[in-house]
């Protein structure tokens, strides 16, 4: 855990990815990744909350004594999510109608508290903001990837209803595979676990191969 921006970003996006490395936030991951659009929406909403909560926790880290830090953080995050929920309902009502369900789900996302505990409470404000952003984007990427795979195998579409989330100009993202009924299993929870399992295995295999190549290069070539 360093304050180096590059390594914080790399941690968040890949090495310590919330879903693929820390295996945190399984509840929202399994619940909303039935389509790429849902995954993207949940990821972006979580990113926003994660950045703000990391900054706030970092700001108060010297004031809070370690014995009561967990309840303080829980109150802080719950308040934050509720305020965001109400503000979006009031002033971004159209977006809220699409994302509303996800906002409330963020409260149960243990990744938020996890980052407060593991990073923000020990780090400066800027580093915490960067960490929140990187972790959030890593989470968004993971959710979108799982969502796209499940959506493609399960209903034969990609980014269905993306224009509801991002506006009509993004309608070009929406694709449909003609004449494919879809494998229902992939939309249901078991499909989520299966896709996550394969992606985890893939990531592990990739890292093993990279590590093996690194050792080969490091050891001196036989004479």
């Amino acid at each position: 855990m360093s304050d180096n921006v590059g390594s914080i970003v790399k941690d968040g996006l890949w090495d310590q990815n919330v879903v693929f490395a820390q295996l945190l936030a399984m509840c929202p991951t399994m619940a909303v990744t039935t389509s790429g659009t849902n995954g993207l929406g949940m990821g972006l909403a979580t990113t926003a909350v994660l950045v703000v909560s990391n900054v706030l926790v970092s700001l108060i880290r010297h004031t809070v004594s370690s014995q009561v830090r967990i309840p303080v953080f829980v109150v802080l995050i719950a308040t934050l999510v509720t305020v965001v929920d109400m503000a979006m309902n009031a002033w971004l009502h159209d977006l809220y109608k699409v994302l509303g369900l996800f906002i409330a789900l963020i409260v149960v996302n243990c990744a938020i508290l996890g980052r407060a505990e593991a990073f923000a409470v020990k780090s400066g404000v800027v580093a915490s903001a960067v960490d929140g952003l990187a972790m959030g984007l890593g989470f968004t990427g993971a959710l979108t990837a799982i969502g796209l795979i499940r959506e493609f195998l399960g209903s034969g579409t990609l980014f269905a209803q993306a224009s509801n989330l991002l506006g009509p100009s993004f309608a070009f993202l929406e694709m449909k595979l003609p004449g494919y009924g879809g494998a229902l299993l992939m939309i249901l929870p078991p499909g989520g676990f299966a896709v996550l399992g394969f992606l985890l295995a893939g990531k592990r295999a990739m890292e093993n191969r990279r590590a093996a190549r690194a050792t080969v290069v490091a050891s001196p070539a036989p004479a």
Partner: protein, 204 residues
């Protein structure tokens, strides 16, 4: 005394918790009062939009949001919005709810004076995304199949999904959801038939 020493004192911790609880309640109270009006306005606009969606264009020349009658249905109050033309009630709009696969499905429907369905929309549901959510009009036009149906057409025993030998389609992988919507709409029509005189008669 520096902050590290104070922080470890037993009295500091409840005080800190108290202060944070107070700050949090303050923030929530402020946010609630600051957003209350805007949320109410946005919800009223939503209601107007969805009411206009189930009601065919040009059906009403009055402000039907204000022309309401409250009726009792099984212990719950149902608000009925009346669309008039030249003073005559042309259609009644109201919400019905039925338990779906996961929680209540809220349905808004418009019925004309003769008891024929003008339009049906699902307002709120928590059905499985990708399976049961085809009842939303922006995902599937299934719900348009209710337009023009009445208790006489199709007959009472045909008010069911095809699996139950009715006339309405079900979705692959989801039967409970459309079954609930069919039941809700049928219940709404029966409710209208039972209270037709009150709905059509009363002046606002």
């Amino acid at each position: 005394m520096n902050i590290e020493a104070v922080r470890e004192k037993i009295g500091y911790q409840p005080l800190l918790l108290g202060v944070f609880a107070l700050l949090a309640s303050g923030a929530l109270a402020w946010a609630s009062s600051a957003t209350g009006d805007a949320i109410a306005a946005a919800e009223a606009k939503d209601l107007r939009d969805s009411l206009s969606e189930v009601l065919p264009q040009g059906m009403a020349d009055n402000d039907f949001l204000k022309d309401t009658v409250d009726l009792d249905r099984g212990g719950k109050t149902v608000t009925i919005y009346r669309a008039r033309q030249g003073g005559t009630v042309m259609a009644a709009l109201f919400k019905v709810a039925e338990r779906g696969y996961a929680g209540d499905i809220q349905v808004l429907m418009a019925v004309d004076a003769d008891g024929r369905t003008l339009g049906v929309r699902v307002l709120k549901h928590s059905e499985t995304p990708g399976l049961g959510d085809k009842i939303e009009v922006r995902k599937d036009n299934w719900v348009l199949g209710f337009d023009g149906k009445s208790l006489a057409d199709p007959g009472p025993e045909k008010w069911a999904v095809k699996k139950d030998s009715g006339v309405f389609d079900q979705f692959a992988g989801a039967t409970i959801t459309p079954r609930a919507v069919v039941k809700a709409v049928k219940g709404g029509l029966e409710f209208y038939a039972a209270h037709r005189a009150e709905i059509l008669g009363g002046k606002s």
